[in-house]
Amino acid sequence: MTTTSVPKYWREIKYRYRLIGSRCLQCGKIFFPHRAVCRVCGSRKLEDYKLSEKGEVLSFTVIRRNSPSSFEKNVPYIVGLIKLENGITLLSQIVDCSIEEVSIGMPVELTFRKIKEAGKEGIIEYGFKFRPVLK
């Protein structure tokens, strides 16, 4: 089982808990994950940028076997490509939804969840997942 060092986890908390990417101060392009150099204009001046918390499913799969060991307890689970309202696409687990219910184009929203834990001794890691938009 892979254990995560506390600082490695802690460094990403801001971005993963609140879905924060980067916006280039020169050309305005938005990125996720956060980055230090703009790939469009080459600017090194970027600021944190809060992404939209709503989007739709572009594609999805169900992990049924050979999951990474820290996810074994979750099998089977849905992972999908989510296109957010501001154009950013990201990868996320899709939860609160059965395998039969998930579909391309399904509206989803951000939810804060436990991602994994590294055995009894390791830290518990949290972050973003997406769920069907609550009606």
Binding site: T2, R16, F60, T61, I63, R65, N66, S67, Q93
Partner: protein
């Protein structure tokens, strides 16, 4: 700049080789390649490997390779670029000969995956992707391919049957390959009835755990002509990358790494795509095989699946593809795969491919991907030089 040729090739069988260690595999393939070239002295060694630091807790493969071969005066370099490690090692070796850095160069690709459980291997393979925003979701490599498979079928309204035919061709070609991992003939129903591993991807569409090593000896073409009656020239060898994150790409169904690498390779070889008689493409899964044929330019985007289903990629088709079984049939010992492709292409171009010999095999292209398309290497080889 010097013209570069392959003068020796060798490989081990691919499969779960319980009785062979990482070191045994290196020794077996390299000794075969040295014997094939008929030489004993090597100036430099390039080793391609992706997972030994994780699966065997073994690093420093350059020095290790020198030691097991008993070539104590030889410098060695080990390289890693995910599943393209073998392709990258070959590329660097070609550069060394081309620019006069070394005369006789050994390239060895090696992977020993069966020492670990399938879950450990799946986790190790995810080191090819970003840890903080891709692996962190719990997805595995099969899952990433499955996302692309669904996107492709949705976007181009393609039937799964057509894509699955890539695996049928792979097994058919592997059946005559005594080195191959999967030599059983399968049909499209077998593929689509095999268990789902990551929806909608089926078990028989995806390469699995394999051990293996392949080796190649390179030297200047002028030297090659003196020692070998049928040397194969390396007309081009290129590498390129695409955005590391699949989901940051403008079109997830186009790997710009492949497009950039093939464009440069055709320029370097001074030939056009129509001059290529046969190809080895990176079919870690059926969908990657289809996408690769498209990205290389052999068929329009969205038409790759029907190209495959119509039989163009079979041994007697317009573009014989993965003639010894590819990653799916021959097997995918990841860091060795790119070197296996060279070995097999050399057999074809020398006319030594036995039952799988392609009639008009003069110029061949090999294509090796790293990660989900974030890295690509392309090589163009030419035989029948006299």
């Amino acid at each position: 700049m010097r013209r570069v040729a392959v003068v020796g090739v060798g490989c081990t069988r691919v499969g779960e080789l319980w009785d062979k260690s990482l070191k045994d595999l290196i020794v077996e393939s390299t000794l075969k390649a040295l014997d094939d070239a008929g030489i004993e002295k090597i100036d430099t060694i390039y080793v391609g490997n992706a997972l030994s630091q994780i699966l065997q807790r073994q690093g420093n493969l350059g020095s290790l390779t020198v030691d097991v071969l008993g070539l104590e005066e030889t410098p060695a370099i080990s390289l890693e670029a995910a599943d393209a490690s073998g392709g990258l090692a070959f590329h660097e070796a070609v550069k060394a000969v081309k620019f006069g850095w070394a005369d006789f160069v050994l390239v060895v690709g090696v992977e020993k995956m069966s020492d670990a459980s399938s879950s450990e291997v799946a986790e190790a393979l995810m080191t090819f992707e970003d840890q903080d925003y891709v692996a962190f979701t719990g997805i595995n490599q099969a899952g990433l391919h499955a996302l692309l498979l669904r996107l492709y079928m949705e976007k181009f309204r393609v039937k799964h049957e057509e894509i699955a035919m890539f695996a049928v061709n792979a097994h058919k070609n592997a059946a005559n390959n005594s080195y191959a991992q999967f030599r059983s003939l399968i049909n499209v129903e077998d593929v689509l009835k095999s268990p789902i591993i990551a929806d909608p991807l089926r078990l028989l569409e995806y390469s699995t755990i394999a051990d293996g090593s392949a080796a190649v000896i390179l030297c200047p073409l002028e030297e090659a002509k003196k020692i070998k009656k049928n040397p194969v020239e390396v007309l081009a060898s290129t590498i390129a990358t695409d955005r590391f994150f699949l989901f940051e790409r403008v079109d997830m169904l186009t790997f710009n790494s492949t497009r950039k690498a093939v464009k440069k390779a055709l320029e370097e070889a001074k030939i056009s795509l129509q001059d290529i008689n046969l190809v080895e493409v990176h079919d870690a899964s059926t969908i990657l095989g289809v996408l690769s044929l498209e990205d290389l330019g052999f068929v329009e985007k969205g038409k790759g699946a029907s190209f495959v289903a119509e039989g163009h990629i079979s041994l007697d088709g317009t573009l014989p593809t993965n003639t010894f079984g590819g990653l799916k049939g021959r097997g995918n010992p990841v860091g060795a795969t790119g070197v296996y492709q060279i070995v097999e292409m050399v057999w074809q171009l020398r006319g030594e491919a036995g039952k799988n010999q392609v009639g008009n095999a003069k110029v061949g292209l090999t294509h090796n991907l790293g990660g989900t398309g974030s890295y690509a290497t392309v090589n163009i080889l030419k035989g029948n030089l006299t």
